[in-house]
């Protein structure tokens, strides 16, 4: 007979933390820390002698630069897009460093599991790719966006509505939700299995088999933590590559 019932805490209690100051909370702390850590890595990397073989922090910085250049920019925008490398690089590093605290002990909260940061980044990306489209194609960008080149006249009303919704509304929405919901789901999963483990261990029960059973959710917790490492990287990568695709598509509509 289990004496205590297991129940999931109210969702805000696992997402909202006590304010550090009235205008500064844990999410803000993680975001600031992400920016600071990213800057420090590149400051330290910039100080090392660039002519030696890179190692340590410089190697890390150069690997990330090459990852963005070869893995994202060259794959989606081609050589013309190399000017976007610093923006995409800072986007990738910032999102990754905001995701990773979800699995770091005692922090245990991805900053992107709150709506604010993904929403801001998605809106920023939306402004940027629309701006790039207007700059590169002028006013034709609007018609090209709504009617991709080569659409039959008869389909124009239908395609126009669909493309407008998909390009202007769904894109920033899905960018936001993809990042936010992935990190939130991962966080909730971790909380669930951590709570399951702790409530099995602390259960006041006569059944001697119940407490050792806590090892099962604990294994699941470890596995999910490893999985979240992958998810943190993958979501940063996907956000960045989608940004690159959107910017590249706005700059060159024929692609």
């Amino acid at each position: 007979m289990i004496a205590e019932a297991f129940s999931f805490p109210e969702i805000n209690s696992i997402l909202r933390w006590k304010d550090l100051f009235s205008t500064f909370n844990k999410i803000a702390l993680i975001a600031v820390a992400a920016a600071v850590i990213g800057s420090v890595i590149f400051i330290l990397a910039g100080r090392k002698n660039p002519l030696e073989a890179p190692k340590g922090v410089r190697n890390l910085a150069e690997t990330s630069v090459e990852f963005i250049e070869n893995g994202i920019v060259m794959q989606t925008m081609g050589k013309d897009g190399l000017g976007w490398t610093p923006f995409l690089l800072s986007l990738f590093i910032f999102i990754y460093l905001c995701n990773v605290p979800g699995i770091i002990p005692f922090l245990q909260m991805p900053a992107t599991a709150r709506m604010a940061i993904p929403m801001f980044l998605a809106l920023l990306v939306w402004v940027i790719y629309n701006g790039v489209g207007l700059k590169h194609q002028g006013i034709k960008y609007l018609t090209n966006t709504i009617w991709p080149p080569g659409v039959p006249v008869a389909l124009k009303p239908l395609v126009g509505v669909i493309e407008f919704i998909s390009n202007i509304i769904v894109r920033p929405f899905s960018l936001t939700v993809r990042l936010f919901a992935n990190m939130l789901a991962g966080h909730i999963l971790l909380v669930t299995f951590a709570l399951l483990t702790s409530s099995l261990i602390t259960a006041e029960t006569q059944q001697f088999l119940l407490k050792p059973m806590a090892i099962l959710p604990f294994f699941m917790l470890v596995f999910l933590t490893a999985f979240e490492v992958l998810v943190a990287f993958l979501q940063a990568y996907i956000f960045t590559i989608l940004t690159a695709v959107y910017i590249g598509g706005a700059a060159h509509p024929e692609h």
Binding site: Q75, S174, V177, R178, A181, A185, V245
Partner: protein
């Protein structure tokens, strides 16, 4: 006296209604997420399977296929995630 008991009864009814609403919301949230996960699940499985096939046939194009695969997964997965957000909104 009667008015007072009526008030209490109304309050009780209100509480009961809230509890019912919460229960049905929780149930429908579960259904919503379950249904939302079916399509993207099939889609991602199909997508990754085809990508692996393509990579096995043409290993030299693996990088391009992988990038495109991640893009496709991102678009497909968005549907499941919208379902998850709906689950959060109405269930919790």
């Amino acid at each position: 006296m009667e008015a007072f008991s009526h008030l209490i009864g109304a309050a009780f009814d209100q509480q009961q209604a809230d509890a019912d609403k919460a229960a049905s919301a929780a149930a429908s949230a579960g259904f919503a997420y379950g249904l939302a996960a079916i399509g993207p699940g099939i889609g991602i499985g199909y997508l990754v399977g085809k990508s692996v096939e393509a990579m096995a046939r043409q290993p030299e194009a693996a990088g391009m296929v992988r990038t495109t695969m991640f893009l496709g997964i991102a678009f497909t997965e968005a549907l499941a995630l919208i379902g998850f957000v709906v689950f959060i909104l109405i269930g919790l």
